[in-house]
Structures are given as C-alpha cells and as structure tokens.
Symmetry: C2
Subunit: 296 residues, 2 copies
C-alpha cells in the first residue's frame, strides 16, 4: 500500500471515531461542542494518532483500545492549537485556511474549548466502554505517557520556552530544547502509547522511542522550513510568520538548505532504529519519509 | 476531633504533598512552575481534596494512592480559577486577596499554567511511583471520574453555561443546571474517587454520590450568598461582583434568607444519605455543616 493511501485510510478511521464519540452540537452546552468540533474537524492530518496506530501495528495485532487512545493525542494536539492561536499567545487569525477558533467563537469559548478538549483526551483513555481489552496496568501507563507528553515537561513547557525565546539570539541548544519539549515529547508519547498497547517488550519500546525522538525533531525542522518556503495556499495560513515574530527556528540558524539536510539526517537515524522490525513497520518507515517531504 | 482541627490537619497533608510533588521553580521552564505554584499555594481551603480523603476514610483504611488523587482535584480546581479570572472570562484582578495569575505573570503564562495544571492532575493519578497500591481497574475508574467531573459535561461545561446566562432573567432550572455542572460535578467526582479508592460497594458508592450532590449544591448556594453578604476582607476579593455582572444566583432569585434556608435543606438531605455509615463518616458530616457556616 502506498503511504498516501495508508494515511488516508487511517485518517478516515480517526475521523469516524472522533465523529462518533465527540458529541454533536445538540449536546448541552451546544456552543462548547460546536467550538470543539470546529477545530477538531478543521482538516488536520492526524499525524499523531496515525503514529500511535502505526506503532501498534508494527508490533502485531493491536487492541480495540487503540483508536480511542490514538484520538486522545489528536485532542491534545487540537487543544494546543486553539490556545496557541489566542490573542495573548500567537494571535493568529487563520489556521488551515479557516478562521481560528477565537475569531469565530470569541476568546472565552476558545479557552474553554481547549480546556475541554484536554479533558476529553483523558476521558477517551479511561472510558470503561472503550478501553476494556487492554491490561489495566498498560492502560494506566498510556495515560501517564499522554500526561507527560502534554504537560509541563512536554508540550506546555515547550510552548513557554518558545515564547521566552522570541526575539532572542538563536542558539542550537535552546532551539533543540524548545523543539524537544514543544513537539517532540507528544510525538514520542504517541508512538510509545501505541507500542505499549500492543504489548511491546522493553527492547521494542526502546527502539520505537528513539525512532520517535528522531522523527519528532525532523517534524519540527520540516515545519520551520515550510514556514519559510510554503505558500499561503499550501500552509492554510500566512507564511514567514516565524521570522516576523523573531521565533527561533532551524532555517533562521542554519539557512533553509542546511535545515533540510538536518531533517533528512534525523529521518535516516529514525529509520535505523526500525532495523529490528519486519514489514509490519513499513507504515512507520513511510510516515518518517513523508514528514520531511510533505508540502503542508 | 473538632472540624477545624480536622480540616487544618488534612490541609497540611495536602499542602505537604503538593509542595513535594509539584516541582520547584528551579525546574525548567522556571516561570511556568512559578506561575503554577503561585496559584496552587495561594491559600486555598483544599475542600475538594479533603472531601476525597474524608470519603475514603468513611469506608475504612484508604490506600497510599489517596493523597495524589485527592491533590489532582485541587490541581483541576486551581487551573479553573486561573482561567476563570482571565480578561476574556471574568477579568478579575484579585483572588484570595492576591493579584490573579495573569496580573502577575501575564495572560499567556496564565493560560499555559492552567493548561499545565490540568495535565498535572492526570499525571498525579497515573504516576507509577505514587499510585501503586490500588487495583488498576479502580485507578482507571478514578481517572475517568476526574475527567467527567472536570470536562465538558462537568466543570468546563458549567463555566460555559454560566457565561451564557449572564444578564439573562434568572430561572431556577437554568440556575440548577449551571451549579450542577460548574461546581457539583467536580465535588461529586472528588467524593466518588475517595470512595472508589477505599473499595466502596455499589450501595456505599451510591449513598456517597447522593451525599456529594447535595453538598455540591449547598456549596454553590453558600458561595452565592457569601458574594452578597461577605466583606472584601472575608472574601479576599471584591464582594457583590455577581450582581454587577448580572450573574444568575440563588440570592438574586430568592433573596439571601431563602437562599440560606435552601442551602441548609441541602445539607440536611446530605446528612440523611450518611445514615448507613458509622463514626468514621463524622468528618464528612462536619464538612457538610461547615460548607454552609463558613464565612469565606
């Protein structure tokens, strides 16, 4: 199967699950669910949940609990986008070619929709009717991974580091620390969660963890590069915003070409980590390549 | 033991736990931990975690996992206060006699501190070194309770309902729905979590759940009344803000005296639910009485 087909198929599975389990706007309070669904179905690539799925599939037969856990990572990712776009943060008007959440629903609802989406992530991972065919101990471990990836030593912490570094002279150590926290930890957690749900041995978990760390860094470098080279149409938002904001990025530090080469190096290292795995890890391999080749 | 002594002792236990497990400001990013600790140690009464503890104690010997779970409820409560105070929400400058989080750290950090505190709640409930002496299935159930109490059908949803009802004509059904979601669900979850951790039977859980629902409503009515009758000194913030904002409250609907009588009725019903329990439930009984008699 070609990677585009794989991604499309898994994206549909994720969308169908979210469509079914994230309440419709007739649920009270309607405006909250409308705001949550507005951002959740804004055309995201579902990279994080697909990584969870592909990671589980690399090890064999994943449990039914896989999809809710995978979708929990999308909830966390979406909530972070809603809050990042707020006037007090990046103050963005557009995201994926659509008005940002607070532009449509107002700041208060946007804050609450983000808050509710975070809670929803943990609800999906602990719902008794959804996550019942996995060893409870593993399930708790997955919830812990999700919390570590999303929290103060993960995504939230990375967002703070990113803000603090704006308009400062870029250095590699700071840049790595920002990327590691802001993007890397959640991607790492998404991959580990899938592995844990499929009963990974400690060695398998270790290989997949290092794979995830390399693609996480590549993902952020590629994002930085796209912000410089992408068009408004490709990005669904204004390009070159990082430079305007004085954000620390790899292209700012090394130039576009060297940054692209660095991302490719990360992918090569990631692929090396998958050596012990058979063809069932092919989707993971292709996702890794896709991360540096995508145009949006 | 007098209730004041009990509350003080349990408050100290909660504070000591939080002090030990919520990282100090030397952890990176320092400003994030500083902001989190600023609000977490702003002098809260720790009612929610104490309810979790008292509920567990009512049933016998609680596990060590009790304190982290109890403190998770305080993390959720504190994050909600930080976000509620934001300019886009209630736009409050003072809370418990101190400047609100965004007044000290700025809006962006206040949003992120709230986000990180919510994640921390789920981290505390799933940390393998903290929550190891409880049946994993029960632990997952507790995490699910926490998510339900905090989320879109709980606290977050209630906040949305509350905002929507501002400057509208108050009616009892709306008011009950707001209170039930905004305050009631998290208090209910706090009590249920303690009961679940102590191995409650379905019948015991049912009694304690109804107890929690009654005190939850009483708690919010008492809060509404205090907002009218309390002084700046007692409240640690400006009094009578609800009326200025056109908030729907029990005193607005019934007047202060009738509202106080209603709160007392709720407490009487709550105490009835504790009939099947022995003296180990005395702290729960005293907390119920304290809720309507407190002056802040």
């Amino acid at each position: 199967m070609k990677i585009e087909e794989y991604l499309e198929q898994k994206r549909l599975e994720v969308d169908q699950f979210l469509e079914h389990y994230i309440p419709h706007t007739q649920t009270t309070p309607a405006i909250l669910y409308e705001a949550i669904r507005y951002s959740l179905f804004a055309g995201g690539k579902r990279i994080r949940p697909i990584l969870t799925i592909a990671s589980a599939e690399a090890l064999g037969q994943p449990p039914k609990a896989l999809l809710p856990v995978a979708c929990a990572f999308e909830c966390i990712h979406t909530y972070s986008l809603i809050h990042d776009d707020l006037p007090a943060m990046d103050n963005d008007d557009f995201r994926r070619g659509k008005l940002t959440n607070h532009k449509v629903f107002g700041e208060a609802i946007a804050i609450l929709a983000g808050d509710g989406l975070q809670t929803l992530a943990f609800e999906l991972c602990s719902r008794p009717d959804l996550v019942h065919d996995v060893e409870p101990q593993r399930q708790i471990q997955v919830i812990y991974e999700l919390a570590l990836g999303a929290g103060n030593q993960g995504m939230v912490g990375g967002q703070v580091l990113d803000m603090q570094a704006e308009h400062q002279v870029a250095d590699l150590a700071t840049l790595q620390q920002i990327h590691h926290h802001k993007t890397g930890r959640l991607i790492r957690a998404a991959v580990r969660a899938g592995a844990l749900l499929s009963g990974a041995t400690p060695t398998q978990l270790d290989h997949l963890t290092r794979f995830a760390e390399h693609i996480g860094l590549a993902f952020q470098i590629a994002d930085d590069v796209l912000n410089v080279t992408g068009t408004q149409e490709e990005l669904g938002k204004a390009p070159k915003t990082d430079a305007q904001r004085g954000k620390q990025t790899y292209p700012a530090l090394y130039g576009v070409e060297r940054a692209q080469a660095l991302a490719q190096e990360c992918i090569n290292r990631a692929l090396d980590c998958l050596h012990p795995f058979d063809h069932k890890a092919d989707p993971l391999r292709e996702i890794a390549r896709y991360i540096v080749n995508r145009r949006h």
